[in-house]
């Protein structure tokens, strides 16, 4: 099998997933709407916080952006798993598997398309935040880094939802597990409030919560500047999650394609 052919396979699987994504304007509308809703709700809910002593000098909007980016991504990784579970259960995957297409391309093409989806969501959130008056301390390079972190985290985390999906072949289970994880992950992290505003025990918990590392990285890029240590930690966490979740996903996928 030539490398060119493998790339073509990835490209076609990616292209189909993209065609499905862009072919459904309703979904895109709801993503826009969801991002707007969260941004407005959270900034309104916590608007008085920024007046408290000790709060970073920026408004709450910049604080909230970091958290909402990852709230969206967590939700979005459920859709990635749902898509593959559907294909498994409807027999669509079986139809792919009787063609000469590379097995790995079926997964890789889909992951790349999911990456594009996470990036689109990032654009929506950042775009709305910008319209609402948010400022970006690190300019274009910083924004690009934010994209990289969000997409990297999304791909890594989708390994978890896909593991659940491939193991149970049930979208209900994916949703239950996904939703059950989303809220504790968000609220026991520094995603919505800086650590200093959390009770002591929670501050301890946030240190073990990957969302804290993600939102801290995005937030420093938004409000202060490039912080090597924070960025390095974020990418290390992404790498760890990626290795863990994708080894189980790949193992399960291999079993499915038998």
């Amino acid at each position: 099998m030539s490398a060119v052919q493998s790339l073509r396979d990835v490209w076609y699987v990616f292209g189909r997933a993209q065609a499905k994504f862009w072919g459904s304007p309703i979904r895109i509308f709801f993503q826009l709407f969801g991002a707007l809703m969260f941004l407005v709700l959270f900034t309104q809910l916590f608007s008085k916080l920024a007046d408290l002593p000790g709060f970073p000098t920026v408004g709450y909007l910049e604080i909230a952006v970091g958290g909402i980016l990852f709230l969206n991504t967590l939700n979005s990784t459920m859709q990635s798993a749902n898509a593959i579970v559907d294909e498994l259960n409807t027999g669509y995957l079986a139809n792919l598997l009787v063609t000469p297409v590379q097995r790995g391309a079926i997964l890789l093409g889909r992951v790349l398309s999911d990456g594009v989806r996470y990036a689109c969501q990032t654009s929506i959130v950042l775009g709305i935040a910008w319209l609402l008056g948010a400022t970006f301390a690190t300019g274009v390079p910083g924004v690009l880094l934010i994209y990289l972190i969000v997409v990297g985290f999304g791909v890594a985390w989708s390994g978890l939802t896909m593991t659940v999906g491939l193991a149970t072949k049930s979208n209900e289970t994916v949703s239950v597990v996904g939703t059950l994880l989303t809220f504790p992950l968000m609220f026991t992290s520094t995603a919505l409030l800086p650590a200093a505003f959390l009770p002591a025990w929670m501050q301890a918990v946030t240190r073990y919560n990957p969302i804290s590392y993600m939102s801290d990285a995005a937030r420093t890029l938004m409000v202060s500047g490039f912080d090597g240590a924070v960025l390095l930690q974020a990418f290390a966490v992404i790498g760890m999650i990626l290795a863990l979740t994708w080894s189980s996903t790949l193992w399960l996928f291999r079993r499915v394609v038998g």
């Binding site: 065609a19 499905k20 669509y92 139809n95 792919l96 063609t99």
Partner: protein, 338 residues
């Protein structure tokens, strides 16, 4: 002619322990129109899934176009096209895009692919709806789209698992015409399962009948009908005076010269005999003598339906292969209306 499909002692046991395929052997010569028949649950789809590299076999050997299933599944995938029994199309994409995507996965590109897709859309009469999302298609339209997808790359061998189920008689006849041309003109080997015996009779040159995972008969439709016996006499009988079954009568009929078999069916008996027409007078006498009311007698040349009934104990009702109360060859349990 070399055999494009060679199966030896294939066994497939599902995880739950169901022995869906129980040691079958098959040879399909290149260019053949092969029909694989059997009642629901006989193991037809399971066999196709194994042959098309989807399901790992339990034991036995499979070679397709010289590619061994264990060593070179890749080679098999390059040879075949598959239409699964479940209609699978991508509802979010248009019919045309479904076919283009399928063609890409089958390593086709550019103008050649475009031409082929348009040709298939024409053939399957999907031209007008080609740009509508496939989820808006009717069941029959989806079915035809799935068939087109299986054929897009002009495979040398196609597995079609009940390709005409759910099509109206008109579309079915069209698909028959198309499959027949595909086989005759392009030399494509067709491996087809069907619920319609009429379809098998019309299209297939070779048939295998599978029942409970085992092959129970092989041959051309004519051979199989021949095996059933020259003719059949279907006797529609009224209720016996005593509520008892027709057993004594069955025994008497079976003893007549030339009778191969007597099978108990819903509303009467079917007699298989070499020269059944000559037996009519005697049969009438016997039925009268047994005190059974004879409503009608029907003389018929055997159909594949009779082959089915005899080989699998299943009847075809309304085009559907269902396992009725099995009319056992000896004696008989009546699956009855009485």
């Amino acid at each position: 002619m070399s055999n494009i499909v060679v199966v030896e002692d294939l066994v497939e046991v599902y995880a739950g322990g169901t022995r869906a395929v129980d040691g079958i052997s098959l040879q399909v010569p290149e260019g053949e129109f092969f029909g694989f028949l059997g009642p629901n649950g006989a193991g037809k789809s399971t066999t196709i899934k194994v042959l098309s590299t989807l399901l790992r076999k339990t034991s036995g050997s499979v070679t397709i176009d010289g590619h061994d299933l264990d060593r070179d599944p890749e080679g098999i995938r390059r040879t075949i096209g598959v239409q699964s029994q479940e209609t699978v199309v991508d509802g979010d994409l248009s019919g045309r895009k479904n076919l283009l995507f399928q063609g890409h996965l089958q390593r086709m590109q550019g103008a050649e692919l475009q031409r082929r897709v348009e040709e298939l859309l024409d053939l399957m009469e999907l031209k007008e709806v080609a740009d509508r999302k496939a989820k808006q298609y009717s069941g029959g339209m989806k079915r035809r789209l799935a068939l087109a997808a299986a054929l897009v790359h002009r495979p040398r061998l196609v597995f079609l698992d009940e390709p005409t189920t759910g099509l109206d008689p008109q579309s079915r006849a069209k698909v028959w015409g198309y499959l027949s041309r595909l086989n005759k003109e392009d030399g494509t080997t067709v491996f087809l399962t069907t619920q319609y015996l009429e379809e098998a009779d019309k299209l297939c040159r070779q048939l295998s009948i599978i029942d409970r995972g085992k092959i129970v008969a092989n041959g051309s439709p004519a051979d199989l009908k021949e095996q059933v016996g020259g003719e059949t006499l279907a006797l529609t009988l009224g209720p016996t005076s005593a509520a008892g079954p027709w057993e004594p009568l069955e025994g008497l009929l079976r003893a007549l010269p030339g009778v191969d078999k007597v099978v108990d069916v819903d509303r009467g008996l079917v007699v298989y005999a070499r020269q059944a027409s000559r037996l009519v007078p005697e049969i009438v006498t016997l039925v009268r003598g047994a005190g059974v009311h004879l409503e009608s007698i029907n003389l018929a040349a055997p159909t594949l339906d009779d082959v089915f009934l005899q080989k699998t104990g299943s009847r075809i009702r309304g085009g559907d292969l269902t396992r009725g109360a099995a009319p056992a060859p000896v004696g008989g349990v009546r699956g009855g209306v009485y």
